[in-house]
Subunit: 395 residues, 4 copies
Amino acid sequence: MPASRPEAHQFDIATASIHADKALNATPEVAPSLSVSSTYLYNKKDHKAVNMSGLSYSYSRDKTPVLSRAEAVIGAVCNGHAIAYSSGLSAMLALLIKLRPKRIVMEHGYFGSTNVVNLYKTLTPDLKIAPLCAEYRENDFVWLESPLNPTGEIKDISYYANKAHAVNAILAIDATFAPPPLCDPFKHGADVVVHSGTKYFGGHADVLYGAVITKCPKMAEELHAQRYVFGAVPGNMESWLVLRSMRTLKLRVLQQSKTTSMFVAWLANAAKGCTLAETDGIPVGSVTRVQHASLQKFSPSFDVCSQYPNGFGPVFSVCLASKEQALWVARNLKVFQFATSLGGVMSLVDWRYGDDTNQDPRLLRISIGLEDIEDLKNDFRSTIVASTFVNLNKL
Amino acid sequence: MPASRPEAHQFDIATASIHADKALNATPEVAPSLSVSSTYLYNKKDHKAVNMSGLSYSYSRDKTPVLSRAEAVIGAVCNGHAIAYSSGLSAMLALLIKLRPKRIVMEHGYFGSTNVVNLYKTLTPDLKIAPLCAEYRENDFVWLESPLNPTGEIKDISYYANKAHAVNAILAIDATFAPPPLCDPFKHGADVVVHSGTKYFGGHADVLYGAVITKCPKMAEELHAQRYVFGAVPGNMESWLVLRSMRTLKLRVLQQSKTTSMFVAWLANAAKGCTLAETDGIPVGSVTRVQHASLQKFSPSFDVCSQYPNGFGPVFSVCLASKEQALWVARNLKVFQFATSLGGVMSLVDWRYGDDTNQDPRLLRISIGLEDIEDLKNDFRSTIVASTFVNLNKL
Amino acid sequence: MPASRPEAHQFDIATASIHADKALNATPEVAPSLSVSSTYLYNKKDHKAVNMSGLSYSYSRDKTPVLSRAEAVIGAVCNGHAIAYSSGLSAMLALLIKLRPKRIVMEHGYFGSTNVVNLYKTLTPDLKIAPLCAEYRENDFVWLESPLNPTGEIKDISYYANKAHAVNAILAIDATFAPPPLCDPFKHGADVVVHSGTKYFGGHADVLYGAVITKCPKMAEELHAQRYVFGAVPGNMESWLVLRSMRTLKLRVLQQSKTTSMFVAWLANAAKGCTLAETDGIPVGSVTRVQHASLQKFSPSFDVCSQYPNGFGPVFSVCLASKEQALWVARNLKVFQFATSLGGVMSLVDWRYGDDTNQDPRLLRISIGLEDIEDLKNDFRSTIVASTFVNLNKL
Amino acid sequence: MPASRPEAHQFDIATASIHADKALNATPEVAPSLSVSSTYLYNKKDHKAVNMSGLSYSYSRDKTPVLSRAEAVIGAVCNGHAIAYSSGLSAMLALLIKLRPKRIVMEHGYFGSTNVVNLYKTLTPDLKIAPLCAEYRENDFVWLESPLNPTGEIKDISYYANKAHAVNAILAIDATFAPPPLCDPFKHGADVVVHSGTKYFGGHADVLYGAVITKCPKMAEELHAQRYVFGAVPGNMESWLVLRSMRTLKLRVLQQSKTTSMFVAWLANAAKGCTLAETDGIPVGSVTRVQHASLQKFSPSFDVCSQYPNGFGPVFSVCLASKEQALWVARNLKVFQFATSLGGVMSLVDWRYGDDTNQDPRLLRISIGLEDIEDLKNDFRSTIVASTFVNLNKL
């Protein structure tokens, strides 16, 4: 049974992220202990697993106090019941093994998700894959990445929910790039939500974590029971750090979202400008394309303000003039660090073509952290300027 | 590519457990850091994953320094290449998904392993299960638990290796109950070894961990690549603690094995005795059965001394006079703690019938820790004595 | 030698808190490892302590990578050189032992500081204590707590700096209650700044930590050398957590400060109101006094906006109608937790009279966390209302 | 009040090290949690610090569960009441500040202890220092390092206890080099025992820790109360790791002691031999001196077997032919690591002259770890042999 979340519903997400696990605290310690025990003394009365603060504990592959608390907070913040896993991919794989779909509807976004589907397919050779635009069938598993990796562009969740539910298909959202309080996919029809907790939940680039969130208590119980056998239980320090990080989730994500929209607007302006005055000093012609939800044109039927009431995700992509310039810039930025992943307090830049040749080689994926926007702009501007003084063909 | 183990082969297991990871240390720190980073700065020269001490790092779902070091030591100590997982069950599941057997040969021992097979079967409905005594077929996956849970009795690995290899079947050993230096299944024909690192590798009841060990570098590489998608990567603190615990593995296991054999002999004597003098004070008739490798009768063809040169595993089972007495004793022991699991520094007693009704309800599984044997005997004796003064039917 | 802070001066505090330790990173890991080694391999060439990223390491009582990095960030953010200690009190004691003052000028604020002075006095029986309003003498150690515990009221640092420097006395500020970016005491004449890092630096109620910050490299070196003997070195996990927490310091502190000023204004209004409409529902007469910097009347010579440009500290005090009501309310608040300490993400309420009978028994010290202000108001209002239905004399 | 140790007296040290903290466990977790909270919810009934498992908690500078448990085990194992500190030196300083001696009797052993005395002297300028052979006076603080750093030679504790107690002086033993079960100084008259827990208590070179142990409950309470102000509280992870390490203390220390005595005998033989056959292959004349308790000549009045019933400490010193050879060998050993400190699972070699010019420049201090003795011998022999082929004057 997933951890309960008493009263959490009545609070703002900021308050819930700090207090939703309080009922699970078995001691008067104000900050949670990092529980590590793999086993628990049995209840001496009835040979049941021992009860602590309303949950029964017997073996850490089932649950630990700190894991239960992390799940309670993730669940409260995401408006459902959360089951945590060692990684986002093991969360997705657990969901597939649970639902055992015969057809998966998806488009290519994050290559890791594609890899999970391929691994699942080795076990179920008859699996079919269909594109998002296909006609859906009963029991299809519709996997919607919104925002999409690496561009940060968003999809109309309601549209896909309606399309899926019309035929009794299931809509799962990979909402990693727009965590609460940016978007609540359940409000717009999602059946299940998956997060790579490695990103904004952890928020400091120091954990690997995943979560499946569902509104359905029965499915939560079944996933929990399945995990006991599946075995991809997150590490205790990882749960403890995610729990600690959730306390600042709202604050971090809103700030990162705000800085991103400003930074994207600044770059989009640079892409359009014809003089250095117009581009704010970015060499004309260097920025060839900027993609982000804040720049998207939406269909009138997509109620963006309802789905993303508090801003867009803090990841976007920018194309430079050439593959060579993209790489040189990525390597020479000083505040932005050249490394994969996203969602942390530190801004990162990744050249996705290196891992996924489906991507444009001129594209850089940028994850905005908590640095000051002027420091980020100065870093980006001065590095682009420097790149124009280098013979990029000789690299 | 799994972590290398330079020179480790030349050392005794005690030395290897302390030094086999030294080549992977990227800094002058004598004790390993608890590395947590989920991402690594790219090598600026060639856009490859960055090289540290001979291994390339890019994302923590692939590897982290502390995970690589734990694997290097487990591999060195187990005489193969190790791939670590979040738990023993996820290790077993990863192995099944990798090998995709159509038939699994096994007997019922640890119910968790049976559960994994059942989960695997939901994905591959045509899977067949056969008993160990069946005739084997090509590509069978033979899963041999030795020592067996919960009795601690051992199997002749060579016999099953020969039987399996004669038809090109694969022999996998769950060697959790007899870790190095008690038994090296590879020396006797095992193709692959699985450990629940939660037990003796961790050794302090504070981690959940699993490992697959193979002699074959190619299979190790493929399992490593599969884990990158499977996602059941162990937590970093878990890897760090396992690495720390491996330094004392030989010392702990040999001491626990020695205490166990003495304790088992003492109990077996009590089971046979007809007076309190003969039973060393244990009420006559209370101990009805004791099972452990040290009490087994072996076929002449089983070269026990070669397979278990340094003693037997520190888990055994004892049956008392009734289910009620077994439960009362388990609940009232003071040094032995009534909790599931095994392999830690603290002695534990478990009533297996509670989780697995295939077991005898009078049976207690006992895991001997590092306490002094006289303290353990006194605890057991006085609790049995006390149980004879209680109306067990009224509990 | 304290850790260097290359280029950190050029960045905003948000950026500095994330990047000031980057030069000390000896590996390509983006997030810092939790270094634990007590010893380091010697440099084989010259038998010096080994050099990593510009610092020399030999024994963890001197420094560890994670400690150096925490100090680098604290120093960058506080605009000086930081030396970290096991606790705020050991930081203060180390400073006293270093400076060996013959007279200490202070007023009673935090009782812990008074205790440190008393401990120091046992070693130097001739020590004199003088009040802040006394005439200062050469080499006096002026200890100014600003904001003051428990009221959160502030002092004019410039005034005391001028007064102290006129006679060659030293001005030390306990700035724990107004960390950066709220106040930089160095800009206003402080010679040395002390922080209990347990509070806002750690920010999650899960570390005990202290720091002395000085602008003077020589004093920093001497304090560092003294700590090697004094031995009050912070734990490695504590340094790692403080380093992690510093990444969000600006965000947390500004939000907590903002919520506090709004909450204080709301309570001050309730203290003045004569009807429930005027008090926003707080029973008239319950709130008898509210103290906080935002309510202080300042002398015209005190340039408050210059000293506190970004808001006031997130701690204040409120007096209720009686000791009994204060205690009842503290015990029955649900979002606010009844516990000592402050500075964390969770709002706390403390009844200071319990530890320090110099305080008003009706006074509650309140530390505002990161919860939503409406949730905090609702909790406070409803608990005060409930207290009026209880026979407080019967408790 | 220091943590209680119910029933611990009745157990062997191995059992006590695993169970002496059990009564302090507030939850059914078998392995201790890593508690981190800096503050605790008040008891709502009586505004006292909250009670957990018999101890009252309010603020982590006073105590935390994991610190109390580590102290309970150290106390049980050392046969007294333990107060833990951030480091061995802060433990010693706390003791000096507590006792405020006017004269300290000591000889030069560990230079860190000399440094602490010098720091204490800056606060108490009238302090006198006297040698161990001096006539003692009332209230003298006699500081006896036994075994002595760096030679591992031991002193007759009873002799000094009698000499000190005859005049009402206090005898404190730095017993770091011979932890339980090697020596119990209290049995032979010590008034107080100090340990650098960094060494054998931690045992893995990954913590900095110190402890004062006393038989006197009142002194323990006073030291505990003093630490609340002194502030040198150990880190929580350090306490947790020490607690974990204590479980294997007896096993580790006995094995290290045994290997050391064998290794020392081997080297002493080499020092005497005139042919390679006699020296077991060590170049004749290379080993010029070996010092260790096992080689000492004792006065008949020194009952060594009673004071060291289970063997001698695992540290000794060896002098080579020249300073240059000593350094070359230290730098080129492969299993032994060239780093300061001692007591860990890994064997270390230190050239003490580098930090303390009072020492012989040809002397190497060796700390024996848990490696196999043959691997250690091979490493030492082959490195000495190699050193004879190098022009050591050219280094």
